[in-house]
Symmetry: C2
Subunit: 283 residues, 2 copies
């Protein structure tokens, strides 16, 4: 077991996980971090579970090889949904924390009606990991899950808010939040809209203003970046391995495209990344 | 040199090239085809030139290994833009046809004013291949190029037309077609909007209705799928290697996700693909 002064390893398929890193730095300002984005093979969200598991295990192993880390945060919902147990098996002894369980926990705390909506990539939603994690905590939950793949592109292109972003968000979320008359095949079910919305993709917090404008003020929005940062904090505190002073320093690793990683990633991280700081590695 | 009865090989980073395959089948109804989509590593459009060249060469070699083809069509603008000469070098003797030159040729035929707009992925636009290919044919052309990465996601999600698609298309194309007052830094240049728009990504023909609604009826829209099909027809005719009767049969190969390839690809091809017909290969 590494000392509390070792950095926290964070990996993602690309830049989305930088919203998790941002939340981790806010939550844990004394920690140091090493972030790996598998930009040569992104996105994971439209690929098969088998391929995602293979890529995620390789990325986690590379991260553990590049730096002596005290834990690994899988800052990608898709990789967490399908690859967490495989990663834990390969990195025995190293704590590995995903984003699904903290998000499910927060959703169950937030909901009053028990009707929870989950949006994510195709792979995350179809795999059913959020659904299982929520039902394990609350057996009577009603879960409406929807792939919102287009939100990834909106966030990457910086089309985060304003009327165009809102029109896309409204269109995509209509099956979850539109009046029942607008939905096909909904004849018999008593209509209720979810009171809680889980942003089950690390890109989606970038669109939170547009999403809030569409769903209204009554819906609780669960951001898995913030909830994961809380979970990491709790885990490190419990094992008495919080750093005493690391001042939030980050090393950036990527598998392709340092320039794009820095340019688009700066928006996701909320602070500038210099392309010269991004070291390319092969997986 | 293979006989005229051998199939035509077509490859793309994923499913976008199916719009080119569709145009090829329309143009050449007697030919047989083998299509490879590198779905495990898509998209190419946001990756570096070095990575795209490596992936494209591997994909073209795998295609030539899987089937005895009489030519290879690189049905991906990004791979054509950066990888064509590398692919030709590795597949010496096999005719290799990309989508850039036919598109540039068609654009130069269509324009009257000489002001041509090119939209494509980040990598295609930044690489400047269309710009070079147009200027080689028309030295005085004025070219406005713009990355429209978001259109890829719109097309894949099936959000092809209607008010939401049009709002995104209008937003993205505003730097090319908006009135000059809406543009920063345009004070001195005499204002003119392009009279020709090149769809420099094989996904974009899926959005042609929305694009037409935004740019109006006066702009010529050059679809590189159709122009590439003409070029392949001309090349095969010139070498007397047109097939006599193959009835448009297609074999599908992909590197990941047969189910998604079939589901989303059917829309791009304009005719149904059965997931059981899609054979997975490793690159």
């Amino acid at each position: 077991v590494e000392s509390g002064e070792a950095p926290i390893g964070v990996f993602d398929s690309g830049i989305g996980g930088l919203t998790v890193l941002r939340a981790l730095r806010d939550e844990l300002p004394n920690e140091r971090f090493v972030y790996l984005g598998d930009t040569a093979r992104l996105p994971y969200g439209t690929k098969t579970a088998q391929t995602v598991v293979r890529y995620a295990v390789q990325a986690a192993q590379a991260l553990a090889h590049e730096a002596v880390v005290k834990c690994i945060v899988v800052a990608c919902n898709t990789a967490s949904a399908v690859g967490l147990s495989a990663i834990r098996a390969r990195l025995a002894g190293l704590p590995v924390i995903g984003v699904i369980e903290p998000g499910a926990h927060a959703a169950c705390s937030a909901t009053r009606s028990g009707h929870i909506a989950v949006i994510g990539t195709e792979r995350t939603v179809r795999g059913g990991a959020y659904q299982e994690a929520i039902l394990r905590r609350r057996h009577d939950a009603r879960i409406s899950a929807l792939a919102a793949q287009l939100f990834v592109a909106l966030a990457e292109e910086g089309l985060n808010d304003g009327p165009v972003a809102e029109s896309v968000v409204r269109h995509c979320l209509a099956p979850l939040f539109a009046p029942p008359a607008a939905l096909p095949g909904n004849g018999d079910a008593p209509h209720s809209t979810p009171d809680t919305l889980v942003l089950g993709c690390t890109h989606f917090p970038m669109l939170s203003t547009a999403i809030r404008a569409v769903v209204g003020s009554e819906v609780a929005i669960v951001d898995s970046a913030a909830t994961t940062a809380h979970a990491v904090h709790a885990a490190l505190a419990a094992s008495q391995r919080l750093a005493s002073a690391g001042a939030g320093a980050v090393r950036f690793l990527a598998t392709d495209g340092a320039e794009r990683f820095a340019r688009v990633g700066s928006r996701f991280l909320g602070s500038p990344i210099d392309a010269d700081e991004v070291r390319l590695i092969d997986l």
